[in-house]
Amino acid sequence: MSYIQSVIPFVPILPLFGALVLGLLGKRIYTKFGENVTGVLGCSMPFISAIIAATSFIAINRLDVTERIIRINLMNWVTVADLQLQWTFRYDPLSAVMLLIVTIIGTLIHIYAMGYMKGDKSFWRFFSYLNLFLAAMLMLVLGDNLIIMFLGWEGVGLCSYLLIGFWFTEEQNAIAGKKAFIVNRIGDLGFLTGILLVALFSMKLFGSTNLSFAEFHGNIDVLAEQTFWGLPLLEVIAVCFFIGAMGKSAQIPLYVWLPDAMAGPTPVSALIHAATMVTAGVYMMGRVFFLYTWAPHALGFISIIAALTCFVSATIGMAQFDIKKVLAYSTVSQLGYMFLAMSVGAFSAGIFHLLTHAAFKAALFMGSGSIIVALHHKQDMREMGGLLKKMPVTGYSMIAATLAIMGFPLTSGFFSKDEILWKAFIQGSPMLWLVGFVAAGITSFYMWRLVFMTFFGETRMDKHTWDHCQEQPKRTVVPIAILAVAALTIGFWNVPHFLGGHSNFTNFLDPVVHDLSSSPMENYRKLQLIKEKDQQESTAQTMKTESGHQAAASGHEAVVDHTALEWGLMIASVAWTFFTGFLAYIFYLRNPKAREQIMASALAQRVFMVLNNKYFVDEFYEAVVLTPIRKLFDFLGAFDQMVVDGLVNFAGFMGRITSSFIGIFDNEIVDGLVNGAGWGAQAGGKGASSLQSGKIQTIIGSSLIIFIIIVGCVVLFLR
């Protein structure tokens, strides 16, 4: 047992334990020892997990590159015939990175929440949920098979539901939580269908399956030959998985829950709805990247969705006034960037943007939370302004994070976003690049708009609030500052070659996530070529397959020097984001009159109205999906009662009518004529009439008699 093997299982188990302790005893601890003890208890488990994650990260870096995939089998989970699921964790460079993000940002946000949730009477419950969330998220990240991942996947959904509706006395919060859960479930059905497809074909082709990623990867080229309903199997699975990602990572058309999810306390928005949970879809795609290398059409589809999401939500972000809503749409848009990277085969770039985004977006959310608390839960930016003087740490941290998200040279966002745009250009299409490029400008615009509206200019808040607002305590602002520093610096982990770096991050991930070296379609053809070669060779049995691989690969390796183009695109996007940032400066700080003049035109008004109302997507869903479903179930409820049950009652009624008729018939006509035969019918009639009075003895008696008669008839008839 190496160090990693012995400690990794504790990473999810410790927060789970913390959640249990706080959930069961939290109230007692809270009332007896107070807020600080409860808070420290809540922070302790994530903190230990973070230490384990960090030390394991060091340990894995010392291992040889080939030994960096570590699987830790705990026990059997479900084993039925050819389905053999295990409780197994997988620690490799990809989960190592995710573990760092989740545990470190998680711990910081726990500490931050001690300040943010101060005085809340459900303080302990909040920390219990937050611990539970970390446990589920870590399960998702560490799962070695699709089902453990799915367990974490649903688990984080549950915690998201619980935390969005944390202040449940507001009906609106509870509704937002429910919406998040159900929209996610729609995506989950897609994910589950994908898993079922993998299970089905694995069991059919290989005798048994444990659904682990290693097994899936190993079988991928056999599965690539399969078709399902006439479509290539892997394309179908890839789309199914992506539907799951659409729900969890808020892509069009399933993104609608995320902006509503801002109803939750701000630490939740920072941790769950910015840094970790919503990126689960990106992580999942990275985990099964081998699937996507075989699914170029699915990637094409994803690239369209991603580009659309990236652009549309950025435009909505421009027209929001609620500070958290701006950040929420920004998150959706940034997730679009990540999927854009994945969809052109730049998997490591997507994961890297996940990392940098986790840092700067968490910082932004936490900063906004700091403001919200200082202003006594006001979130409207129209009532802010000038806050930099009052809240310098929060202010400068948010400005740093804004520099990162706009892609200011040498900040983290600069490296990660540029990599994505570059890959989109070279491995996708110039169109994809253009959408991403435009959206980058919009990002810079709405982020600087946010900064100028909150921190600069004259204050627009009332005097009372202004006088009372002040910088938050250390436990709140220090985590923000730490993340802001991270947002500025972590980009240096992945400096590309043309800037003199070594793409260290990409290399670190390489044992588990290989980027495509060419566009997905081209790569797919290459893979097929290799396969055909392999088959020819195995039938001819002449050459070793190894040389075939090399031959096929070498045929496509025409190295072109793109350095000039790469520089050009980089300079263009830096110039463009500076320009839009400057526009924000003019419109919101320097010369608001100019903005008002533009906004005065009818066209601008209309555009603004559409954007402010989020393109009316919620209204559209309400009319097209929800209302019909409501009508359907109301109809079915009535149908069930009136028709299905009505028939039963009608049958009962007819039985009663018939029996009383027989009773009358029997009394008036039969009786006295055929005494012997009459007896039976009379009994039946009386029995039936006594049904109304509920005399059970008669019912039993008569039914027994009916039995005997019917049995007799049947035996006679059958003879």
Partner: protein
């Protein structure tokens, strides 16, 4: 201990005379002790059960065989295999939980608990009987206590609900009895009511020599007659309408037993008698069964969405969840059928929990209208938490038992019916919708001031629910511990049905 199985079946009945030795107010203690004692003496059953024995057609375990009515060839023949042992465990667990849920009964206590214990014996009897007549006897005996328990201790429309339940089930039983007689009469080989022998003979190629009935092949008619009898109990659409009425009117504990155990008898009957006796007809009927399963799942879930009464909503959720059992059985693949039996167990524990929890609020508020509550989470935090766990279990959240069984069923069904499985998956979405919607309306939002003094769950209520919660989590994490009991039997059954 010899005759252990008979002891397990009849210990509840032995408790009945003791009810009259105690003051009426203390009768509940006798019932609780009887169910707990029954549970304890059943422990060797599980520890000594040989998990590698196939059962179904061949060797049963803990067998007891005595001549009963020699002229008819019926015997007192009981025994268990993997299929029944899990159902016995379920019945014993639900028995204790239901005894605790009966704590508030304050009308004719002795009569109530006598009926309750008789019901317990009858249910256990159904699961151990290996003789068709004995099976039928226990099946019918079950009706009487159930009728009284709903009809006397039930809600306002109890008489209507009780008669409906009784007549509906009885109507199904008539066909069943005829089918049993026909099976006996035209059995391959010597006439017998021994179901294990019969299945064995069919498996070895024996055929029923019956004539055409109304122009239909004998086996198909007998199959359908049996099927309807069991289908009413499950209940399968369109025979399900007795269930919401019975649930709404029944006292809490009886709802618990009804949903927890009684519904499983239908699907148990499919697995024990109906399908293995007529494997070819099953093959012919399979597509139709899958269609019914999907209807149950989706239709049940949509009807649940439309309900305003909390208990009725859960009743319809039972219809939906039992649809999953049917889906697994209909698929008859190893995962499908194992998942189905696991789902029978899990639905038993989870739905029992749900009804126990509805009982808690009904005892305090005296109504169950979903819209009539609101914000209860602020006054009854423990109750809200426990209920959220139970609701999440019902939704099939991974980590809890319901997910494992639903996943196994979907995996199993997907092997043979892809479209049906995906449609069934919609049931999972609707399931989340009705559960969360109801939860939100009852527990979240502004507190309805009428209920500002509502008391939280008491010790007895917690004692009935918490063990079930533990089971739900335990089987979510280590489902193999239960699957181990029936896997061998069911894999064999799957091979008989579709192999």
């Amino acid at each position: 201990m010899s005759h252990i199985l008979s002891w397990v079946v009849f210990v509840p009945l032995i408790g009945v005379p003791f009810l009259w030795l105690m003051p009426a107010k203390k009768a509940k203690w006798i019932a609780l002790i009887a169910t707990i004692v029954d549970f304890i003496i059943a422990i060797p059953l599980f520890t000594h059960f040989d998990k590698s024995v196939k059962g179904v057609t061949s060797q049963m375990q803990f067998v007891e065989k005595l001549p009963w009515i020699p002229s008819l060839g019926t015997e007192y023949f009981i025994g268990v295999d993997g299929i029944s042992i899990s159902m016995i465990l379920l019945t014993l667990i639900i028995g204790v939980a239901a005894a605790l849920a009966s704590w508030g009964i304050s009308k004719y206590e002795r009569g109530y608990f006598a009926m309750f214990l008789l019901l317990q014996t009858a249910m256990l009897g159904v699961f151990v009987s290996l003789d068709l007549i004995l099976f039928y006897l226990f099946w019918e005996i079950m009706l009487f206590p159930m009728y009284f328990l709903i009809g006397i201790w039930g809600g306002p429309r109890r008489v209507y609900a009780a008669i409906k339940f009784f007549l509906y089930t009885l109507a199904g039983s008539v066909g069943m009895l005829l089918a049993i007689i026909a099976i006996w009469y035209y059995a391959p080989g010597e006439r017998t009511f021994n179901m294990i022998d019969l299945v064995q003979r069919v498996h070895e190629g024996g055929v029923f020599s019956g004539p055409m009935i109304f122009g239909f092949p004998f086996v198909k008619v007998v199959f359908i007659a049996l099927f309807i009898g069991f289908a009413i109990k499950v209940p399968i659409f369109p025979f399900h309408t007795w269930l919401p009425d019975a649930h709404v009117e029944a006292p809490t504990a009886i709802s618990v037993v009804l949903a927890g155990v009684l519904l499983k008898m239908g699907t148990y009957g499919f697995l024990r008698i109906n399908f293995p006796l007529f494997p070819e007809v099953f093959e012919w009927f399979r597509d139709f069964l899958i269609a019914l399963a999907v209807i149950n799942i989706v239709y049940g879930a949509l009807c649940a969405l439309a309900q305003t009464d909390l208990k009725k909503m859960i009743a319809y959720s039972s219809v939906s969840h039992m649809g999953f059992v049917l889906l697994g059985i209909g698929a008859a693949t190893t995962q499908g059928i194992n998942g189905a039996v696991l789902q029978m167990f899990n639905h038993g524990t989870i739905t029992a929990m749900l009804f126990l929890l509805v009982g808690v609020v009904y005892d305090r508020a005296h109504h169950r209208q979903i819209a009539g509550f609101g914000g209860l989470a602020s006054v009854t935090p423990v109750y809200a938490t426990v209920t959220s766990v139970a609701f999440m279990a019902a939704i099939g959240l991974p980590g809890m038992s319901g997910f494992i069984s639903e996943f196994l069923i979907l995996t199993g069904a997907f092997k043979v019916y892809q479209v049906a499985t995906i449609i069934a998956g919609l049931g999972i979405i609707f399931g989340a919708a009705y559960m969360l919607w109801a939860y939100q309306r009852v527990f979240f939002g502004k507190l309805n001031t009428k209920y500002k003094d509502l008391t939280d769950m008491n010790f007895v209520e917690l004692a009935s629910v918490v063990p079930l919660i533990i089971i739900v989590f335990y089987l979510g994490i280590l489902p193999d511990r239960l699957i181990g009991f029936f896997e061998v039997s069911l894999n064999y059954l799957s091979a008989i049905l579709i192999g």
